[in-house]
């Protein structure tokens, strides 16, 4: 197999802004009525003019700094002209690095295990509208355009083709997303807030671009498909063409959109309604001062301060919300090892299984610490705690309430356990006899007692009672004999 080179073009909305890139429309358009978050400016109504959102530039500079990029001291906006229904003006205000254009930043890198993925450039542009179809794109009679998204600030981050496998591309995207999450400028969990185009070339073949990849999970899938497709062609001695392909998420295949021999025709030219943006060193410095902790430092701190395993620390950094949640828990109840295991293992696992987003779960750090205290105080068993956790995530009820409602408190009563043990011995006479010889049979008897209490019997106590009972039984038998 030849070498693979993968480059990515990530489009990330600046989701933490209050207004769009060039007008004062709000940005929390998700779930809102179509075409209700629009104004004369973002609709390109004749006579209106764009005014640059300064905070968007600041967020973008913050991102560029975190990616170790070189910030330009002056940048321009360019018009990218093409006709498409998602563009109210039939051009997009973007940036361009040719024809005298200067984008926000160039260079930089993102560290992933064993390598640095280099950044080529970072630019600011406006998001086009969203087009939806009735049913599928092929069968729909019309395209429906929702302009709520039109004009949202979008950052384009272009990498060098430094990734060598689809998996590496996913790891890069996870890292990038975690960085943006740490900066609190782009929340990738918001639907469609991070999108990606990928290009892939294999030794002996031409560069193929894949467009329309809606999420990171899909990026790895699309690249895997494309890798296999290209490899099969190369094996047959067919060279891949330089082309743009479309990722069909439903059928999970790439489809050729156009064969391109040269650069597409966008008739770029400087946006005459905006003036060049001067980025002074002082401005950059004040933004730098606001730089929060980034993933690498975050991970190191978690390991040092809480003595977490690197694996757990990795997960808490990748899911920054969970990392923050973890620290709040540890503040209330300092059992960082146990807390991190619960969060990274059971909690995250259950969320994934149920398809629940982190920010959707209904529990607070107090839920977790209370639950852990109950385990540590022997009120519930670890096994019961797992049930309690799942119930908490769904209902948001406090653990003591759940335990009470469902009668999950551990049974410590010698009397009760003895009673139940007697019952089990009566009903399993054969097993009792076997248990005298066979350890396994003894565990079966313990299991039966646990079963009768639905797992609530104190395991140590039960163990002791059953063993004592067996010794008693043995003595009785010996007497008889």
């Amino acid at each position: 197999m030849g070498n693979i080179k993968i480059g990515l073009e990530v489009h990330s909305q600046l989701t933490n802004l209050n207004s769009k890139l060039f007008c004062s429309c709000p940005t929390d358009y998700r779930g809102k009525e179509a075409n209700s978050y629009i104004c004369t400016v973002c609709m390109g109504i004749p006579g209106t003019l764009p005014v640059l959102n300064k905070k968007a530039v600041e967020d973008a500079i913050l991102i560029a700094l975190s990616l170790n990029s070189k910030i330009s001291d002056k940048m321009y906006f360019f018009r990218k002209n093409y006709f498409y229904p998602d563009m109210p003006k039939n051009f997009q205000i973007s940036q361009y690095d040719k024809a005298g254009g200067i984008t926000l930043a160039t260079g930089g890198y993102v560290s992933i295990p064993n390598k640095k993925v280099r950044i080529r450039r970072i630019q600011i542009e406006e998001d086009p509208a969203r087009i939806t179809y009735e049913g599928t794109i092929y069968k729909s009679k019309s395209s429906l355009v929702d302009y709520n998204r039109a004009g949202i600030a979008l950052l384009e981050i272009v990498t060098e083709p430094d990734m060598e496998s689809p998996k590496e591309a996913r790891i890069f995207l996870q890292k990038l997303s975690s960085i943006l999450e740490h900066l609190d400028v782009c929340h990738s969990y918001l639907e469609g807030s991070m999108r990606c185009d990928a290009n892939i070339s294999m030794e002996g073949g031409k560069r193929v671009e894949i467009k329309n990849i809606s999420s990171f999970k899909e990026v790895e899938r699309a690249l895997n498909f494309e890798m296999t497709r290209q490899r099969n062609l190369l094996i047959k001695g067919i060279s891949t063409k330089m082309e743009t392909r479309h990722w069909d998420e439903i059928r999970r295949v790439t489809i050729s959109l156009r064969i391109k021999e040269e650069e597409e025709e966008y008739r770029y030219f400087p946006e005459p309604d905006l003036v060049p943006t001067i980025i002074t060193k002082e401005w950059v410095e004040t933004i730098k001062d606001k730089m929060p902790e980034l993933p690498d430092a975050h991970k190191e701190r978690l390991i040092k301060k809480y003595e977490l395993s690197p694996q757990n620390a990795d997960v808490l950094v990748n899911y920054k919300l969970l990392g923050d949640f973890f620290e709040k828990c540890a503040e209330i109840y300092y059992k960082p090892g146990a807390i991190s295991n619960w969060l990274v293992g059971d909690l995250l696992g259950y969320l994934h299984e149920k398809g629940i987003q982190l920010q959707e779960m209904k529990i607070s750090p107090v839920h977790i610490t209370k639950m852990l205290k109950m385990v540590d105080n022997g009120i519930i068993s670890g096994k019961i705690a797992k049930t309690v956790l799942e119930e908490m995530i769904i209902s948001g009820k406090m653990p003591e309430i759940i335990v009470k409602e469902k009668g999950l408190i551990r049974i410590h009563s010698d009397e009760l356990i003895e009673q139940l043990t007697n019952k089990v011995f009566e009903e399993n006479k054969e097993a009792v006899n076997d248990a005298l010889e066979d350890e396994k049979a003894m565990h079966y008897l313990i299991g039966q007692v646990m079963k009768l209490t639905k797992g609530r019997a104190d395991p140590e106590l039960t163990n002791k009672v059953v063993r004592d009972k067996l010794i008693e039984h043995k003595k009785l038998l010996e007497k008889k004999n």
Binding site: G47, V51, N90
Partner: protein, 479 residues
């Protein structure tokens, strides 16, 4: 004696403030005038009579109560139909916007309304301001008030003609390459293109953003100073509007011009210039000389490329600006055909006139990959060269003088067959737009009943110098 509708703006303001004149009476007189002459002139596309009369009544009430009256109180103004006016149709003289009514006022409209000006209606123009005769209007041409066989100039032909024949006391046009100075010259009124960035473009429907400014057209220089005081100044909604300290332009009225140095660039007095135009312009320069100014003939080599540079930049920007008129969200929409692409193309094919299409195609070509460096980028370089040449000249001279138009108002239809000939008319006016400098056209006589204008160009933000010299010339020529 002057009729009511013939007064200058400053006289109207004075009379209304004194209680000598009823705003309602005056506005009614203007509408009577419009009724009387506009069927011949065709300056207006839309009149907003009801709204205007209501506003006139309000001003009279304010006057009666002794409340504050703005600096343009009662003045009846005509607005070029590419400047957005809330709830008054704004068409750009194009079929594509023939049904477009803006939901907002342009910044200049807000400003003149705040000073109590009254909007009479919207005026005819070349479609999307592309032209020099107002013949490229979907609604038909505007006729020169001095000669009904001749054009009013363009593209702000309606705004200039309306003031010239007193269908409005003052008006606003827009000037991208001479679009206010040309019709001002042809109609014998005053038109000023301000420094780029002095007046907000918010609400001006763009033809060529980096060149154009909303520009006043008036009967006399004093009115110009009052109107400019009102519309000039920074606007947050226009990123290209500049943060400069506002001047009071009336303070330049009446200042003498002793020692004023005038540069006369020979390139703006080219071979094609009409001899009668030359004579009147030189006469005017000599008048200024008599008033204590001095002049020197100079040469600005780079001007040779000004026209080519202008048309490449203007058309390039236009090709992108006009992309939005696809009839899908507003504006003219033809019958639906097949799919988006076909419907869209049909809307544009039927919505735009020939000249607009020509310029879109030229601009699209100039911006295309492989041609961008050769055309657009080179044109921008030429622009820089021209600016340098002018900067040099302004180190020696206070103002530059030239004919506004190299020719007399031409006959209707005369230049429609040859677009290049039409473009050549803009030879003397485009340099000011390329360099962002203020330029004015002032009447300096006539030939055979046809008005002739002289152009003065000053350094950016030196509108005061233009007002100073224009006022002195106006005063002398009236004597």
């Amino acid at each position: 004696m002057k009729k009511i509708f013939e007064y200058s703006a400053f006289q109207i303001v004075e009379k209304i403030r004194n209680g000598e004149l009823s705003s309602l009476e005056y506005i009614n007189a203007l509408f009577d005038r419009i009724k009387e002459v506009d069927s011949k002139i065709h300056a207006y596309l839309t009149v907003a009579k009801d709204m205007a009369l209501d506003e006139a009544k309000e001003i009279d009430e304010k006057a009666n109560k002794g409340e504050h009256l703005g600096s343009l109180c009662g003045v009846g103004m005509a607005i070029k139909d590419n400047i957005c006016t809330e709830s008054i149709r704004t068409t750009c003289s194009s079929k594509s916007l023939s049904n477009f009514t803006p939901s907002y006022d342009a910044t200049v409209i807000e400003r003149i309304r705040k000073e109590d000006a009254i909007i009479l209606g919207k005026t005819n123009m070349d479609e999307f301001a592309m032209g020099s005769s107002t013949e490229y209007s979907f609604f038909g041409p505007t006729i020169n008030p001095y000669n009904d066989e001749r054009v009013a100039g363009g593209s702000s032909g309606g705004s200039a003609a309306a003031v010239a024949i007193s269908e409005a006391t003052a008006s606003l046009g827009s000037d991208t390459g001479g679009s206010v100075r040309c019709p001002a010259s042809f109609c014998g009124v005053i038109g000023l293109k301000p420094t780029y960035g002095l007046v907000s473009r918010y609400g001006l429907i763009a033809y060529a953003n980096s060149l154009e400014q909303i520009s006043p057209i008036v009967k006399d220089v004093r009115d110009l100073a009052i109107l400019l005081n009102c519309i000039a100044g920074h606007d947050e909604r226009d990123s290209t509007s500049l943060k400069v300290v506002k001047d009071d332009y009336t303070r330049f009225i009446g200042n003498d011009i002793k020692g004023l140095k005038i540069g006369v660039p020979k390139e703006l007095f080219g071979h094609g210039t009409n001899k009668h135009v030359l004579k009147r312009v030189w006469d005017a320069i000599h008048v200024l000389e008599d008033l204590g100014a001095s002049y020197t003939e100079i040469s600005l080599d780079s001007l040779e490329y000004a026209l080519a540079s202008y048309y490449i930049i203007a058309n390039s920007e236009a090709s992108s600006n006009l992309a939005r008129y696809d009839g899908l969200r507003y504006g003219f929409r033809s019958d639906e055909v097949n799919d988006w692409s076909d419907t869209f193309s049909k809307n544009r094919r039927e919505g735009f006139g020939q000249e607009v299409k020509r310029r879109i195609i030229l601009g699209t070509f100039a911006l295309s990959a492989g041609y961008y460096n050769k055309y657009y980028l080179k044109a921008q370089k030429v622009r820089t060269l021209i600016k340098k040449d002018f900067d040099k000249a302004f180190k020696k001279f206070d103002i530059l003088a030239s004919p506004t138009m190299p020719i007399l108002p031409f006959k209707l239809g005369e230049k429609l067959k040859n677009p290049l000939e039409m473009y050549m008319c803009d030879l003397d006016t485009v340099p000011a737009n390329l360099i962002g400098a203020p330029a004015i056209s002032v009447p300096c006589g006539s030939y055979d009943g046809l008005p002739i204008g002289i152009q003065f160009i000053a350094q950016p933000f030196k509108e005061g110098s233009l007002i100073q010299v224009s006022y002195k010339l106006e005063e002398s020529l009236q004597d």
